[in-house]
Amino acid sequence: MNKQVIVKEKKKFKLSDTIILFIALIVIVIFFTLMNRAFFSYANISTMLKNMVITGILALGLTPLMIARGLDISFGSSVSFTGVLMAVLYNKGWSLSLCLVVGVAAAVIIGFINGLLIENFDLIPIILTLGTMSILSALALVLSKAFSVSMLTDQLYYFATKSFLKIPISVFVLIFFIILFWFILTFTKTGRVIYIIGANPKVALLSGVKVKKVRILLYTFLGFIAGIASIIMVALTGVGNPLAGAKMALPVLSAVVLGGISLAGGAGSVWGTIIGVLIVSVIFNGVSVMNVESYFIQMVQGLALILIVSMYEVRNKRASRR
């Protein structure tokens, strides 16, 4: 009887990874607010939210793929390439909407090809997408003749700089994708299938799940997300820059890993990813607002990554011992 009570009490106090991560986020926010009151101002929070949109939606796109034991590191180059493609077409006189549609379609095709090659030829995702990354970067440079291409339009400028209900418009895109991914992963059969594949692909296959098709779909969907990220990038910068996505992989992957998604797949959540993105963004913004040099921003981000991932490992080992 007593033992049962103790077990119940223990269960009661067990904190999920997401809650712990959220507490870590709150601690970091409090820390930066104490260090500089400007950090917690509306204007700064609004800026921070706006600047986490691209990292956020890419991390969301990567979440189901990594849960299903897939991996794609070429999304940054896809953003660069499609951004340049849209800008080049726009300068050739194409209509804005057609440019955007073609850009997103190109990114979708890239994602589909990634998925098709990885799944049909059993290639290691990191190697294949490393190759794709290299090809796309080169294509972006060739297409742009190695210079950024102007795409300063009133519509995109409005999208990048204006707010609705005091919230930057681009943030609504992120909110939309958060709800979409949360809904898919939590309430749909597809979501359950993704977790089953991640937990054990062989068992999933034997259970009649079309593992390859689902994964190809997830790579394709990440391509779509990269296309949307590319539009936002072009809107924010006013150019299609061949190097715009060159440094995206690290913050996005850091955010996803921080959010509790393991490379081994099968675990993770949309909320964990979003908190991971928030931590990466809060650290960048908080340290920047404090006038600290960018090297130290990377250092603090790295420290947070090591610390939180170590915590996951310790917890997992403890859990597996039980």
């Binding site: 870590a24 400007a38 910068t237 820059n241 006038n291």
Partner: protein
């Protein structure tokens, strides 16, 4: 579980303690904690009133068009009368802090801001880290702080166009450094002009070597990251060379001795790697002329040539841009032959007077262009400009 919680808690505490210990010490020299933007913004009108009271110099009696020159004289003398920067706010986004050139620019701004009586807390300094996305984020952070003047140092003029548009809407005044920001005032090097100067100097050296027939290969560095404006630092030289020697040195013509060298200029290591590949494409070339974007690229080329067993200083002419401390060493070591100096250590002498002119006289008080004078620094004249310590 308990142990995990303890480890996690200790980790968070360690992170915070480490941040507390590290962050204050790693702030840029002049900057301490930044106060809320709203409290530091000084209206131009109130600033003008303050100026008369605090500076001891009656700035209101100086015509607007003379304000810049007045502050320039103070800057050159190293003494700003009456602390004109006190109570004003300034922000600076550096292009890539890791470069000695950019560090010199930053130090010069800090030095003159302090000389002018500016407070650490009124100066915001960020690093664009040669990354468009970071530059955009920094722009937003700076716009939130609403400084009176924003000194923008960023590679891509086209991205700057969007920044300029937003700055105008938000009422932030920008002074562009080296790369234009819309139609805001520009301070820095005349990018095409310095390349023309370098091209003319290179032609003199080529003639001394026995003429263009003695040259096997001409490498014109061209790298996407720098954007079209900075690329003018090579374009001017190309144009001068083509004007003098014709198609034989034109990188756009097939069969020419002149070729585009797509080599990363962001670090010596990256430049070395790219130049190794480029040199491998021209195994027969012995007498080589290189026009490069910066001293990191020059050092990278030398390392690449050395590793390939092809470093021959007597048959190599390296013409570099934006002399920095690395470049000075390369000149003294007989690696770089000529380096166009932009005198980054003097940028503050233009930027702070330009900023002050705006603070006291508004937009019309700031000249549209504030060019630095370029000089080709060689082994023969380096001690005249930069005496060896």
């Amino acid at each position: 579980m308990k142990r995990t919680k303890v480890i996690f808690s200790l980790g968070i505490v360690a992170l915070i303690v480490l941040a507390f210990v590290l962050l204050p010490s790693c702030k840029t020299k002049s900057t301490t904690e930044t106060t809320a933007a709203e409290t530091t913004v000084a209206e131009t009108t109130s600033a003008e009133t303050t100026s008369a009271e605090t500076t001891g110099v009656d700035l209101t009696s100086i015509p607007k068009e003379k304000l810049y020159e007045t502050f320039r004289e103070m800057a050159k003398a190293g003494k700003y009368e009456g602390e004109p920067a006190k109570g004003h706010t300034l922000a600076f986004a550096n292009i890539i802090k890791a470069f000695p050139f950019c560090t010199s620019v930053e130090n010069s701004i800090i030095e003159h801001w302090k000389l002018a009586g500016g407070l650490d807390s009124d100066l915001t300094i960020l690093d664009n880290a040669a990354d468009p996305q970071i530059a955009i984020q920094n722009k937003d952070i700076i716009f939130n702080k609403k400084p009176e003047v924003f000194l923008q140092f960023q590679f891509d003029a086209k991205i700057n166009d969007q920044i300029a548009k937003e700055a105008k809407e938000k009422g932030v005044f920008i002074i562009a450094i080296d790369v234009p920001v819309g139609d805001f005032p520009f301070m820095g090097v005349n990018n095409y002009g310095t390349a023309v100067l370098t091209g003319q100097w290179a032609i003199e050296q080529i003639e001394k070597m026995g003429g263009i027939d003695k040259v096997d290969l001409i490498l014109y560095q061209n790298v996407p990251q720098v954007g079209e404006t900075v690329f003018l630092r090579i374009k001017g030289s190309v144009d001068e060379m083509v004007k003098k020697y014709g198609d034989i040195v034109d990188p756009e013509k097939t069969g020419s001795k002149g070729v585009w060298a797509v080599a990363d200029s962001s670090s010596t290591e990256k430049a070395k790697k790219d130049f190794q590949d480029i040199l491998a494409k021209y195994p027969q070339a012995k007498s080589i002329v290189l026009f490069c974007l910066n001293d990191q690229s020059a050092a990278g080329y030398q390392a690449a040539a050395d590793i390939s067993g092809r470093w021959d200083p007597d048959n190599t002419l390296i013409c570099s841009q934006g002399l920095d401390e690395l470049g000075m060493q390369l000149i003294r070591d007989n690696i770089v032959d000529g380096d166009s100096s932009y005198f980054p250590e003097k940028y503050g002498e233009y930027l702070i007077p330009g900023s002050l002119a705006y603070m006291y006289g508004g937009e019309k008080a700031v000249p549209k262009e504030m060019y630095v004078e370029n000089v080709i620094i060689t082994k023969d004249n380096i001690d005249q400009y930069y005496p060896q310590k």
